[in-house]
Symmetry: C2
Subunit: 164 residues, 2 copies
């Protein structure tokens, strides 16, 4: 099964693509970010995000998609910007694929580390370990997207990531 994880953002939207079969180790297929320029207007940036999301979906034709939920927020302005991008993400994913799952940051932390208060570094180390990578994936938004995809693989009865 191919799973795409998305970490929503307006300036940088992360994606991570993994393959996970029952009782087999998760395998990374691709990861990266879709970026939009800060000096461009909002509607144009949202169109750029849609195009980038569609390219990822067209290329990998995922069976299921996992998206991080939005919890807010210390910075309301940032939260509003991310929510605009997330609206476009959910719309596009739902139209193109349909099998969409959402996870809270807490669920992602628990799925990957067994500990709801794990910090960013711990999560990234687990992403590296589960996917057998030599280094932590960069940038952070791509690593976060892989973490959501792994969380979905773990949660969705594809077998524990710990005991494959």
């Amino acid at each position: 099964m191919i799973i795409v994880g998305f970490d929503p953002g307006l300036a940088t939207l992360g994606y991570g693509v993994i393959r996970k079969e029952l009782k087999k180790k998760a395998e990374v297929l691709d990861y990266g970010v879709i970026s939009t320029p800060k000096d461009e207007n909002l509607a144009v940036r949202l169109c750029m995000l849609e195009r980038g999301i569609k390219q990822v979906l067209d290329k990998f034709k995922p069976d299921e998609i996992a998206v991080e939920e939005l919890f807010f927020a210390k910075n309301v302005k940032t939260g509003i910007a991310v929510a605009h991008a997330r609206g476009v993400l959910l719309l596009t994913v739902n139209k193109e694929c349909g099998r969409l799952f959402e996870y809270t940051p807490l669920q992602i932390k628990q799925a990957l580390t067994g500990y709801g208060r794990a910090d960013k570094n711990q999560i990234q180390q687990m992403v590296k370990t589960f996917l057998g990578l030599k280094a932590v994936p960069k940038p952070d938004d791509a690593a976060d997207a892989l973490a959501v995809a792994l969380c979905h693989a773990q949660t969705n009865k594809l077998g524990s990531l710990f005991f494959i």
Copy 2:
């Protein structure tokens, strides 16, 4: 020139369609709301909004579109929900029409009443007056959408609404 105004929202997204020619009185063509059920999941609701927005644009083929800007927020949770919807709105409008203008609540109040602190009732009365309606348009989100469209007509050198 045909102008569509949109008042963004997730549960209720208002639209108002007017015709305004230079030195002629603004004329209402249509107004209403696109509603989504609260018990449906977010991605599905965003798809419903997209469909409704497209229907309005396809039917009236507006020359220009005006959307209210989002300022926040007392209620962050509501703000985040509206921003998801607004992301879909801006994306769809930009793809379908391209001539998109945004106005702050302050700009809308000033354009319609000449007074930045006008209340909802004053705005609605001016919408009624400018469009020669017998009553204030209902629901409120539709009246707000007509107000954005009128603000654009006024601001965009189509002649003052006061001295047509």
